[in-house]
C-alpha cells in the first residue's frame, strides 16, 4: 500500500489537534506515515500510534522552530524522495501553505489547498473537496502528479482512533544555507481570551459596525453559549477588535454549527468567511441588510436590546 505523509504540527512534541485529523484522512488513502521535524518526538509518539501512524520519520532539529518553514521543506523533500508517497497532507495554515508551495516546486508535485474533505480517487490518488468563490461553489479536484500535496482545513474530519505501529525512522538531512535564511527574531505570545478557538468553535458570535465599538453585549451573549467571538472587517478596520479574530475573505473562514452575526450587514467580504456555516442567525437594525438573505432566523432590531435579553433568557434556562 502506498505511503501517505502527514506533516505534524507541534510545539516541543505536543501535537495540534489537526495532526490526528490528518492521520485519519491519510488512512483513507494508504499507509499513514508521520513526519516529525523539531524536538520532543517522545511526547508525540503515543498520540501518533493511537491515530494510526505506521511510521514516524524523525528529523531532530532543535532549532527548526527558530526559522520559517525552509528546514521543514528540506526534510519533507528528502522524505518524499525516499518514500514515494501518493500524498503529503499538511494543515491549511500560513506556514502549511508556505511549506506546500516550496515543496511542490522542489519535488514537482501538484498542490491542492484548503481541502474540506479528502478521499481516495482513481488509482488511489487523493480526490479533494474545496469550497470556493466565497462558498458559492464546491469543487472536486485531483493531483495529476505521482505525489500530490494537499493542505486540509482544520476541523474537516473527526479524528478516528486506530492503532498504528508508529515505528521511528531517523532522518539525517543536511540543510542548505537557505534553510536558516528567515529567522524568527522575536515572538510575543498573545494573551488568551479564554474563549474557544475561532476556527474550531461549534458556535461563533460576531460583531460588526452595528456594535459602534462596544463588543460587551456580543461577548456576553457568546459567553452564555461558550461561543467564540469574531468580528467583521468594518469592526476590525475601526480598531474595535483584533485582526486575528476577523471573519471574512481576508480573515478567518469559519464553518461552525451555528453562526450569529450581530450588527453585520453581510458584505461579500464577510460572507466569504461564514456562509458555509450550518445554521446562520442575524441581528441587525436594517431590515434590508443582505445578511438576512442567508439566515435561518433573523431579528430586525437593535443588538443592544436583543442580545442582553437573549443572554438573560439563556442564563435562566
Amino acid at each position: 500500500m502506498a505511503e501517505v505523509l502527514v506533516l505534524l504540527d507541534h510545539t516541543d512534541g505536543k501535537l495540534k489537534k489537526t495532526s490526528a485529523e490528518l492521520l485519519t484522512l491519510a488512512k483513507r488513502l494508504g499507509e499513514p506515515s508521520a513526519v516529525f521535524v523539531g524536538s520532543g518526538v517522545d511526547v508525540a509518539l503515543p498520540v501518533l500510534a493511537k491515530y494510526g501512524a505506521e511510521k514516524v520519520y524523525v528529523a531532530e532539529l532543535p532549532d527548526a522552530a527558530d526559522y520559517l518553514v525552509v528546514p521543514t521543506v528540506e526534510v519533507l523533500a528528502a522524505t518524499v524522495e525516499q518514500a514515494h508517497p501518493v500524498a503529503v497532507l499538511l494543515t491549511s495554515t500560513p506556514a502549511g501553505k508556505e511549506v506546500a508551495g516550496r515543496l511542490a516546486v522542489k519535488t514537482g508535485a501538484g498542490v491542492l489547498t484548503d481541502a474540506v474533505d479528502v478521499e481516495a480517487g482513481e488509482g488511489g490518488k487523493p480526490r479533494t473537496t474545496h469550497s470556493v468563490f466565497a462558498g458559492s461553489y464546491t469543487v472536486n479536484a485531483t493531483g495529476a502528479t505521482d505525489t500530490t500535496i494537499v493542505t486540509v482545513k482544520p476541523g474537516s474530519v473527526a479524528p478516528a482512533a486506530v492503532q498504528g505501529a508508529a515505528e521511528q525512522v531517523a532522518l539525517d538531512v543536511a540543510l542548505s544555507d537557505l534553510a536558516r535564511s528567515a529567522k524568527i527574531v522575536s515572538s510575543e505570545p498573545k494573551q488568551s481570551t479564554g474563549r474557544p478557538d475561532l476556527t474550531a468553535a461549534q458556535i461563533v458570535v460576531s460583531g460588526g459596525r452595528g456594535t459602534g465599538g462596544d463588543f460587551g453585549p456580543v461577548e456576553a451573549f457568546a459567553d452564555s453559549m461558550k461561543a467564540a467571538v469574531g468580528a467583521s472587517r468594518a469592526a476590525v478596520d475601526a480598531g474595535w477588535y483584533p485582526h486575528t479574530l476577523q471573519v471574512g475573505q481576508t480573515g478567518k473562514q469559519v464553518s461552525p454549527q451555528l453562526y450569529v452575526a450581530c450588527g453585520i450587514s453581510g458584505a461579500i467580504q464577510h460572507r466569504a468567511g461564514m456562509q458555509t456555516s450550518k445554521t446562520i442567525v442575524a441581528v441587525n437594525k436594517d431590515e434590508e441588510a443582505p445578511i438576512f438573505e442567508l439566515v435561518d432566523f433573523g431579528i430586525v432590531g437593535d443588538l443592544f436590546q436583543v442580545l442582553p435579553q437573549a443572554t438573560e433568557a439563556i442564563a435562566k434556562r
Binding site: 520559517l68 518553514v69 500560513p94 501553505k97 506546500a100 508551495g101 516550496r102 511542490a104 516546486v105 508535485a109 501538484g110 484548503d114 470556493v132 468563490f133 458559492s136 461553489y137 469543487v139 472536486n140 479536484a141 493531483g143 495529476a144 537557505l178 535564511s181 528567515a182 529567522k183 524568527i184 527574531v185 515572538s187 510575543e188 505570545p189 498573545k190 452564555s224 485582526h243 486575528t244 475573505q249 481576508t250 461579500i268 467580504q269 466569504a272 446562520i280 441581528v283 438576512f292 442567508l294 439566515v295 435561518d296 432566523f297 433573523g298 431579528i299 430586525v300 432590531g301 437593535d302 436590546q305 436583543v306 442580545l307 435579553q309 437573549a310 438573560e312 433568557a313 439563556i314 434556562r317
Partner: protein, 261 residues
C-alpha cells in the same frame, strides 16, 4: 532599491463569479476584472519603500490575458514606475506552479530586484501558494504575511500577527515578502497619477521572450486537475422577526428549538 511587485487581475468578487463550462477554469469574461484588492497593499508598500529610498524603481508585473493589463495600469496610476505584462495564449489554465515559473523567469529578465513584493493571496483562487513557489524558484529567502515591513540596510524585518503570537522575522535581501491587508491603506490614484501613468513604459512579453516552453504551462500541463464544480444551492431564507420588545426572547427560543442551548 529595485522592487518588483507581482499583481493579479481577478474577477470582481462583487460579481457572480463562476467557471467556464468547457475547461473548468475560472471564467474571466462574464464578470468584470480588476486589480486583486490584496495586491493593492503590496503596490502601496512598494511605493512607500521607494519614497523613503532615493533612486528606487518599482516595477509591477502581471501574468494573464489582455485584460490583465488593467491591473498593471491601475498600479502605474497609483505610482509604480513601469510595468511588465506577460501574456500568451499557452498560459491559459495554468496552475500555481506554472504561474510561479512564468513570474520567476520574468523577474530574472527584469533584472535582479532587491525585493519582490506580493499580496498574501489572490482574491479569486485564494490559494496563497505563488509567493512561496516564487521564492523557491528564485532561490530566495522569504517572509510571509507581513503586517509591517522595516528595511535596514540589506536586512528586512517583518511583523507577523499570528493567532497565538506576534513574531518578528528577519531576512537578508534579496528576498520575497508577502503582505497582508493590515499593512497599510492603499492610495487612490490621483488625477496627476492617472495622467502620468499614460506615459509610463509597459512591456508585453510572450513565453518565447522568457525562454519558457509552452509544454511547461497551461491547462494540459497543470499538476492538478479540477474534476467538477457545483454551485452551492442558495440558502433558503428562514423566519425574520421584527423586535418589538421580545426579540431577544424569540432568539433564545429559536436557539433552544435547534438545541443550541
Amino acid at each position: 532599491m529595485d522592487i518588483v511587485v507581482c499583481v493579479k487581475h481577478v474577477p470582481d468578487a462583487q460579481g457572480d463569479r463562476t467557471f467556464t463550462e468547457s475547461d473548468k477554469t475560472v471564467d474571466r469574461t462574464s464578470v468584470d476584472g480588476l486589480l486583486s484588492e490584496l495586491d493593492e497593499y503590496a503596490v502601496e508598500e512598494a511605493l512607500k519603500i521607494a519614497e523613503s529610498h532615493e533612486g528606487s524603481t518599482v516595477t509591477v508585473l502581471t501574468v494573464g490575458p489582455d485584460q490583465a493589463g488593467d491591473a498593471v495600469k491601475k498600479s502605474l496610476q497609483m505610482g509604480a514606475d513601469k510595468g511588465v505584462h506577460v501574456s500568451d495564449e499557452a498560459i491559459h489554465g495554468s496552475d500555481a506552479a506554472a504561474t510561479s515559473l512564468v513570474l520567476a523567469e520574468a523577474i530574472k529578465k527584469i533584472g535582479s530586484p532587491d525585493l519582490v513584493l506580493t499580496g498574501m493571496a489572490s482574491t479569486d483562487g485564494t490559494m496563497g501558494l505563488v509567493p512561496a513557489m516564487l521564492a523557491e524558484r528564485l532561490g530566495l529567502p522569504m517572509a510571509t504575511y507581513a503586517s509591517e515591513v522595516t528595511l535596514d540596510g540589506s536586512t528586512v524585518t517583518i511583523r507577523r500577527d499570528g493567532d497565538t503570537a506576534t513574531e518578528r522575522i528577519e531576512v537578508s535581501l534579496p528576498a520575497v515578502v508577502s503582505v497582508t491587508d493590515q499593512i497599510n491603506e492603499p492610495r487612490y490614484p490621483s488625477f496627476k497619477g492617472i495622467m502620468a501613468a499614460k506615459k509610463k513604459p509597459v512591456e508585453t512579453w510572450a513565453l518565447a521572450d522568457l525562454g519558457v516552453d509552452a509544454g511547461q504551462v497551461g491547462l494540459d500541463n497543470a499538476w492538478t486537475t479540477v474534476e467538477s464544480f457545483t454551485a452551492r444551492p442558495p440558502r433558503e431564507q428562514g423566519e425574520i422577526v421584527k423586535d418589538e420588545g421580545e426579540g431577544g426572547t424569540a432568539l433564545a427560543g429559536f436557539l433552544a428549538s435547534r438545541k443550541f442551548i
